[in-house]
């Protein structure tokens, strides 16, 4: 390592901080920006906007389940004038299809990879920007054609109504459902566009992490957040092409008369029998080959971020850094070979089901290791109960529930009963809302100062947290009971069936909880917009955290670092003796007292 005028803090000055690219004028700086931080903020506001859309769709679904065939409040009379203000069953299928689509493709995946991937990767590894800044800009702008496609699909004959899984034959042949016309084609195009966006992102992240780490930033000194995003990018890059290919096959089935997904001789809607030689099962394999890993795409970045945040908020090093990395990789690699557990009842060869079952069971193992390690990180820490911590603990608490209900699903015979009932809905809402979104809320509060240079309001943050936590548990926990009683998913009116008649009060309770949870999100938005302009100013390192982004000004200027950061050790050096501080930034070279140095080095050097 050659030294260029070492500064007192051990940092080295950058010869030309603007060398990478210049910020330019207002439009190139804030709108068509190539700066990863601006792109992150663009992603954040877009995805939060989409979260409102997805949330409203969810509330409409819940309205129907609590008050079936009753006029929808506010929007009902003008939206469904013909039906007397009530939701039609066609519209209901569109509602849950688009709720899932929006939440998965336009909220959770882009808020993790898009917002936090963009914001944190260059900052945490000590780079001035992404490897391909223009590709990065494109990855944001490719969200908009996707949003346009999904938005337009609402306008065509009731919208896409084949579920977010888009199973053929329902989604494949236009005559199969009222919403299966142009709307479904647009839906498929939307998924393809958002796929392009994710793909550009993941290529960029992989390249950046591999090539642009600051001097001294070895792989095993990367913060867990970066590990999470890195493994996610790899998953994305390998799984996504399969979905894109499948999507194209479905589009050609719909538009060009190929027949990948439907056999001959079907009589749909009293039309002439179909010609064909395809098989609907093929779509399920292609779809889940992407969409199972996608579950981890929606979870691993949060796992990483929560590891870093918990460690900071408990002022303790992360318990078992290497096992955490290994278990993350194990989850990702096992994630590739378990897609079949979505298909136990599908009619595929049952012998294959056994292999999928064993692999699925084994995924619980690294997940358990992670849970234990997080708990051990809290153990013996000095916990500060701020909004970030609370959301992180909610993540952990709800991830445990989602993980444990996953074991029921992995067990094939039990899954046969639970498949496509509300038990599954409970499970993935605990993972995707309970775990992922609480992690995201924590991350927004934690990195907000780095994005806008100001702190968020604690009182508002805590109120938002309490209402969301109560609302989420009140909404999603009873779903387990609905599932046990055999209530299938996607029923506009389950009470039509005698054995489900008595579930109405439970559904009403859940809807009230969902409304509480939905309205609580308004507090989050108020908090974000208020704090952006009026929040107390944050210094460089408001949380006394250790990773590289906290050595930059808040918010960092174009090109990020004043100095090329030198990295001397792992990411979570808390609880050390270091003057009057209890933490050691990654750039601080100070030698640790003998006993602690031993403890630290065992992890870094082995």
């Amino acid at each position: 390592m050659t030294t260029l005028n070492p500064s007192p803090t051990g940092l080295q000055p950058i010869l030309n901080p603007q060398a990478h690219h210049a910020p330019g004028n207002f439009i190139t700086k804030y709108i068509f920006s190539t700066d990863h931080k601006i792109i992150a903020i663009q992603f954040m506001f877009t995805t939060l906007l989409m979260m409102i859309v997805g949330g409203v769709l969810a509330l409409a679904v819940r309205w129907q389940l609590a008050f079936p065939w009753e006029s929808m409040p506010i929007v009902g009379p003008w939206l469904f004038a013909a039906e007397g203000g009530q939701i039609s069953p066609e519209f209901y299928t569109m509602l849950f299809t688009m709720h899932a689509t929006v939440m998965i493709f336009l909220v959770i995946i882009p808020i993790l990879a898009g917002t936090f991937g963009n914001l944190l990767i260059p900052l945490m590894i000590g780079a001035d920007d992404m490897a391909f800044p223009r590709l990065n800009m494109l990855s944001y702008w490719f969200m908009w054609p996707a949003i346009a496609c999904f938005g337009m699909s609402f306008a065509y004959a009731g919208g896409p109504a084949a579920g977010w899984t888009s199973y053929p034959i329902l989604a494949d042949l236009a005559q199969a459902a009222p919403g299966s016309g142009t709307a479904q084609t647009l839906w498929l195009l939307g998924v393809t566009f958002i796929g392009f966006s994710s793909m550009m992102g993941s290529i960029n992240y992989m390249t950046t992490i591999i090539n642009m780490r600051a001097p001294g930033m070895t792989f095993f000194r990367l913060p867990m957040t970066i590990w999470g995003l890195f493994i996610t990018a790899i998953l994305q890059a390998f799984a996504l092409p399969v979905l894109t290919a499948g999507g194209f096959m479905q589009v050609t089935d719909r538009l060009l008369g190929t027949c990948f997904f439907y056999p001959s001789g079907l009589v749909i809607n009293n039309a002439a029998p179909t010609v064909g030689g395809g098989q609907a099962l093929l779509w399920q394999h292609l779809f889940w080959f992407y969409s199972h890993p996608a579950v981890y795409i929606m979870l691993l970045p949060v796992m990483g971020m929560v590891s870093d945040m918990l460690s900071c908020m408990c002022r303790k090093p992360l318990f078992g850094y290497k096992p955490m990395v290994i278990s993350m990789s194990a989850i990702a690699s096992l994630g590739f070979i378990v897609w079949g557990h979505h298909m136990y009842t599908s009619g595929m060869n049952p012998a294959v089901g056994m292999a999928f079952m064993v692999a699925t069971m084994m995924i619980a193992l690294p997940s358990a290791v992670k849970t234990f390690n997080w708990t051990a990180t809290i153990w013996g820490g000095k916990v500060e109960f701020n909004t970030v911590t609370l959301n992180c603990i909610a993540f952990l608490s709800m991830f445990i529930v989602g993980g444990l209900s996953g074991i029921f699903m992995a067990a094939v015979p039990v899954d046969v009963y639970f498949h496509d009932t509300y038990f599954i809905v409970a499970h993935f809402h605990y993972v995707l809302f309970g775990a992922t979104l609480f992690g995201v809320f924590a991350a927004i509060h934690f990195w907000f100062p780095k994005m806008f240079g100001r702190m968020m309001n604690e009182k508002l943050g805590k109120t938002h947290f309490v209402l969301t936590f109560i609302g989420a548990n009140g909404t999603f926990f009873p779903m387990h009971f609905l599932g046990m009683q055999g209530m299938p998913r996607r029923y506009a009116d389950p009470y039509l069936h005698g054995y489900l008649e008595h579930l109405l009060p439970m559904n009403q309770f859940m809807t009230i909880s969902a409304i509480v949870m939905g309205f609580a999100q308004i507090l989050l938005f108020i908090n974000i917009f208020y704090s952006m302009f009026f929040g107390p100013k944050a210094g460089r390192n408001p949380w006394n955290a250790t990773t590289l982004e906290w050595t930059t000004p808040s918010p960092p200027g174009h090109g990020n670092f004043d100095f090329i950061p030198m990295v001397y050790h792992g990411p979570n050096e808390y609880a050390v003796v270091n003057g009057n501080k209890d933490f050691l930034m990654q750039t601080e070279k100070e030698s640790l007292p003998a006993n602690e140095a031993v403890a630290t080095n065992t992890l870094d050097e082995t």
Binding site: T93, Y167, G179, Q279, G320, G347, A364, P488, R489, A599
Partner: protein, 278 residues
């Protein structure tokens, strides 16, 4: 304030455990007020479910309790600094091996049930030889095709086959097999009371076997999204003693081949009486 938050996080697992413990008594458990599964295999599936429930309940209570306790300790930590620990090999080995062993046990334990349930080699021979009926799902109803009394179900519909819609009659106490197919989109044959579920795939004929052990009328619903009327696929499976079942088939034959003159077409009565003699 930290302690208050600990109580907040303690409250929710307690609420979860209490509501789960309440569930069987207030009818929040398996269908028909937590009735036992109406098939022998269903009972084995329930047992497996309860084993997993016990395991997960212990883990749930344990992890949530430790989490809250760790928070409690953290909130009251008066030390100048938190403890500096980077990990513990022994501890991590323990908490990898124990869950690993439990999961492996669960995985192996359930293989038999799965094999008996789905792998055709293990199907009861009598049921395979003589399928009860062909079940065809279509938007949005269930159609059933039985062979004529005394005959075997053929791949192709026969002139003397018996048909019914949304009502499947099944004799109890003996394994029966149905041939499941779909005319249009994907559906799923879901009998909650028997813990049976199998997707009906267009273009395929999937054999499904079950053995009802309790007479009664059970709901048959569709569990795979099949269009706007998905929720309307309402049918019943009526499990009855063998003689009542035969009487039903006879009745069905009479209704179906009734010529409007109070007689049944000669050809069909012939086959029927032959069957009875045999």
């Amino acid at each position: 304030m930290g302690k208050g938050w600990c109580l907040f996080f303690l409250f929710w697992p307690i609420a979860a455990v209490v509501s789960c413990a309440m569930a069987p008594f207030v009818g929040w458990s398996f269908p028909y007020n937590n009735a036992q599964a109406a098939s022998n295999l269903g009972i084995r599936i329930d047992d497996l479910f309860y084993i997993i429930l016990i395991v997960t309940a212990i883990v749930f209570v344990g992890t949530q309790a430790v989490l809250v306790y760790a928070l409690w300790r953290g909130a009251n930590n008066r030390e100048e600094r938190a403890t500096n620990i980077h990990g513990n090999h022994k501890l991590e080995l323990i908490w990898s091996i124990i869950p690993g062993a439990i999961l492996l046990f669960l995985a192996i334990y359930q293989m038999n049930i799965w094999a008996d349930f789905r792998i055709k080699k293990y199907y009861p021979e009598a049921a395979v030889k003589d399928p009860l009926a062909e079940v065809t799902a279509r938007q949005f109803e269930w159609r059933f095709r039985y062979p004529a009394i005394g005959k075997k179900l053929q791949q192709k519909p026969q002139p003397d086959d018996l048909y019914s819609v949304n009502e499947l009659h099944v004799p109890f106490g003996k394994p029966v097999m149905i041939q499941l197919r779909s005319d249009d989109v994907q559906h799923s044959f879901f009998l909650p009371a028997l813990r049976i579920k199998q997707d009906a795939l267009p273009g395929l004929q999937i054999p499904v076997w079950f053995e009802a052990n309790k007479p009664g009328t059970y709901d048959l619903v569709c569990a795979e999204l099949c269009g706007w009327g998905h929720y309307k696929m309402k049918a019943h499976v009526i499990v009855q003693p063998e003689d009542e079942y035969q009487a039903y088939l006879k009745n069905l034959t009479q209704k179906q081949f009734y010529d409007g003159l109070g007689k049944i077409a000669a050809k069909d009565t012939g086959t029927e009486s032959e069957a009875v003699e045999k």
